[in-house]
């Protein structure tokens, strides 16, 4: 056990790691945002839609949640070109993560839709709210408050676990940069310990931001740790 830690080389390339972290953050945010849109659509269909559409949503959710995200992304990156569809690795990761998150978020948001009390909607109706106003002032705040903690947790999952899959198809996110750099000079321990700390800081900052946002916007007491 006389490994000689040399962090100097890591600091020399710290800028590249930060670029990777920035890409990770962007991928996480966009994948999550796209997933929320799909999730809202899926959950609305599950709650209010006709059965053929509900069935389609069920198939989508079952299919996606029961296969590894890695396989889904490999399918897009290695499978689709066989069919003549060729996307860049970053596009494949993003689309894969959006589709993946969309399925999980359909389930999470569905719970929120179910929590809206019909009686509150009736009160709104008799006060003169239109359907859009009911959704805006009653349904959405309810959903937001009910599922906010689950959403915040899921964002962290996408940010850390989801995005790092990209490294396996050559995306230069934080994990990808660490693999690239450490394979140049074999300082695996140094690079990956620093990268671990960057991930922790990233999720820590995101968690605090989300907790504050939730407390301010939805009166949610989300746990930070």
């Amino acid at each position: 056990m006389d490994y000689n830690f040399q962090y100097g080389v890591v600091w020399d390339n710290f800028g590249a790691l930060m670029e990777g972290a920035w890409l990770t953050f962007q991928l996480g945010v966009f994948a999550f945002a796209g997933g929320v849109l799909i999730g809202l659509l899926g959950a609305s269909i599950k709650t209010y839609g006709p059965w053929p559409l509900r069935f389609l949503v069920d198939c989508y959710v079952v299919f996606i949640t029961n296969t590894p995200a890695l396989i889904q992304i490999y399918f897009l990156y290695f499978g689709l070109p066989e069919l003549g569809v060729r996307w860049s690795n970053e596009t494949c990761v993003l689309i894969g993560l959006v589709l993946n998150a969309g399925a999980y978020l359909t389930m999470i948001l569905r719970a929120g839709f179910l929590s809206v009390r019909k009686t509150e909607l009736e009160a709104g109706q008799t006060l003169g709210f239109s359907l859009v106003q009911q959704i805006r002032y009653i349904v959405v705040p309810h959903i937001a408050k009910t599922v906010y903690p689950a959403l915040a947790n899921f964002f962290i999952v996408v940010l850390v676990m989801g995005t790092s899959i990209g490294a396996l198809i050559g995306v230069d996110d934080l994990t990808g940069q660490a693999i690239n750099l450490s394979s140049i000079n074999y300082r695996w321990l140094e690079y990956f310990s620093v990268v671990a700390v960057i991930y922790v800081v990233l999720t820590f900052v995101a968690s605090i931001g989300l907790a504050l946002l939730g407390r301010w916007a939805f009166r949610v007491r989300a746990r930070i740790f």
Binding site: T126, L127, P141, R219
Partner: protein
Amino acid sequence: MPHLAVNDLRAKYGALEVLKGVSFSMEKGQVVALVGPSGSGKSTVLRTLVGLTPVSGGSVTIHGDEIRYSNAASVRRARDQMAIVFQQYNLFQNMRIIDNVTVAPTKIKKRPKAEARADAERLLAMVGLADKLNAFPDQLSGGQQQRVAIARALALHPEILLLDEVTSALDPELVNEVLDTIRRLATEGMTMILVSHEMAFVREVADKVIFMDSGAVVEEGLPEQLFDAPKTDRAREFFGKILRH
């Protein structure tokens, strides 16, 4: 011309006819009490009036204008004129008390914020909740929430207030604070239809009592008439049972 006239009102839930031709009328400033056994259709009458339960026949007129429940604009006008308060109060859980009261005036009636707020503060003070403006509904007792619901309904300045068993979900010691609020509205000349099982209170505030059974009006009259000398057997049986204890 009566303020509100209900004529042969009918409503169904699926195949079940719940209102089988209900008729009554009331003048401005009157308090009318709807009483009757559970399931007789009292709530349904109030719900059809504000367009929550579809009408399958008959007519409702306010100042002689018929409400057409198949027409969105007409229903909107009806909801301007009548406000309903439910047994379970149904406050917006995600909004502060003050916002519960101001949301409809500002967002739907587009009244200026400051004006709506001043109005809401006055109403909340009237129901004794001036100190709860910034609380959330789940921080209030049932009686307090019910009084907020009344203030919220009044904030749109309805001509007729519909109250559906507003005290029956409350603990006994909270009932009086809500009844006091209704009593006060009655003395101020508010037109109200009140569904209630509090017969002593009905006798005190109601100008007219309507006794319903199985989706129809069986008998109506002054409280003393109905309570002390009902004409129909069905009313005698009902009031005999509930007034004895």
